[in-house]
Subunit: 217 residues, 2 copies
Amino acid sequence: MANPGDVSPLTLNRLSVYLRSLRQLIEEGIQRVSSDELALRFHLSAAQIRKDLAQFGAFGIRGVGYEVEPLTEHLSGVLGLDHTHPLIIVGMGNLGNAFARYLEFNHGAFEVVAAVDHDPAKIGRRVGNITIEKASRLASIVNRTHAEIGVLAVPAGVAQENYDALVSAGVRAVLNFAPRRLAVDPSVVTRDVDLRIQLEALAFYVTQLRRPEPSGS
Amino acid sequence: MANPGDVSPLTLNRLSVYLRSLRQLIEEGIQRVSSDELALRFHLSAAQIRKDLAQFGAFGIRGVGYEVEPLTEHLSGVLGLDHTHPLIIVGMGNLGNAFARYLEFNHGAFEVVAAVDHDPAKIGRRVGNITIEKASRLASIVNRTHAEIGVLAVPAGVAQENYDALVSAGVRAVLNFAPRRLAVDPSVVTRDVDLRIQLEALAFYVTQLRRPEPSGS
DNA sequence: AGATGTGAATGAGTTCACAGCT
DNA sequence: AGCTGTGAACTCATTCACATCT
């Protein structure tokens, strides 16, 4: 059984994908599945599935495969999805708003418990079940709500200072939407969702690979 | 000078980051920069910067560093940011809307030229400069607007069919926001922005690494 | 018999360290 | 003297292939 710090971020990403796939199998009433079947159905690699899962305690039955339900439970537990994670959004512009609403529908292990903004015009406005508060009160809000994940959806120019504020307010993880490379606190986990990087990568391919593949050398 | 297909997606991501950093230096009026300085200022790796840049034709001056402006121009060209990329959004829910507005402000190499949805109630509504059209007319819209990048912002359940429709309509690249592993056409580049994966990874760390580091074995 | 779990082999990506140019 | 460009070393990740267990 792996030490948390030893799990690679890539393995972690795949765990989410496996879980999603398994949930779909449950809906279809499938009780057992082999790594080969999973790989085939969801465009994954069978060897990788086995290696990834083995890292979290063997759950397969040799000669048979995996029991869908227990495996799903187990993975949910590993990812901490068996309890709710309170979340605070910093910056209620387009992205912050969209994200808040996205989570309303995507009910589950994540719950928005607070949202703040620097713009006085936005303070007091309601979004779903919560009211937008002043960003300057971040520390006390985090303290009050026990928010453990901070969602950073502010402009690039103020990303670092807002990140720092989130961290010193006491959140344990940050999801950063700002197109900015942050100087991060090593005790707080950070993941970036950088739309510009994705778009520019697509622009590269679209521009450079005019036709399918310049075959040969 | 590397063949487009040979450039690793990770290198490509970094190219965006370099470009962003360089633009900031331009604003500050800095004309020359060494890989060490860049690394230090933007939390990057000097060796990696040199290796990445060298892949696209040597632009540095030994003993001196890189000329900020010409390098910026060069990288912009490599990524195809010196011309506009027409973009079509499929699915104008929260995410689609937020993305459309995000790009309005993020004026630059990307322009939303069309948006479609399946919901009749949304057809005809205006967002920025464009009017939401019927998803069933996708092919002719792509044809009319020459959209080259498709942004998939539909629910997971209909992601594959909408992806297929985008591809057969003729887009050359897809940015997928749907939390679904797509069966992809190899001649169309696809990038995923999967918020659930990011959140679940954060949940893992928050849940498993209760305190800084369980030191030792 | 059949599918897992896993060492060994391969491949990809990063860092090192220094020769070579300015 | 100093910083780039790059082979070589190293680390991380994936795939292979098979011994192991049910």
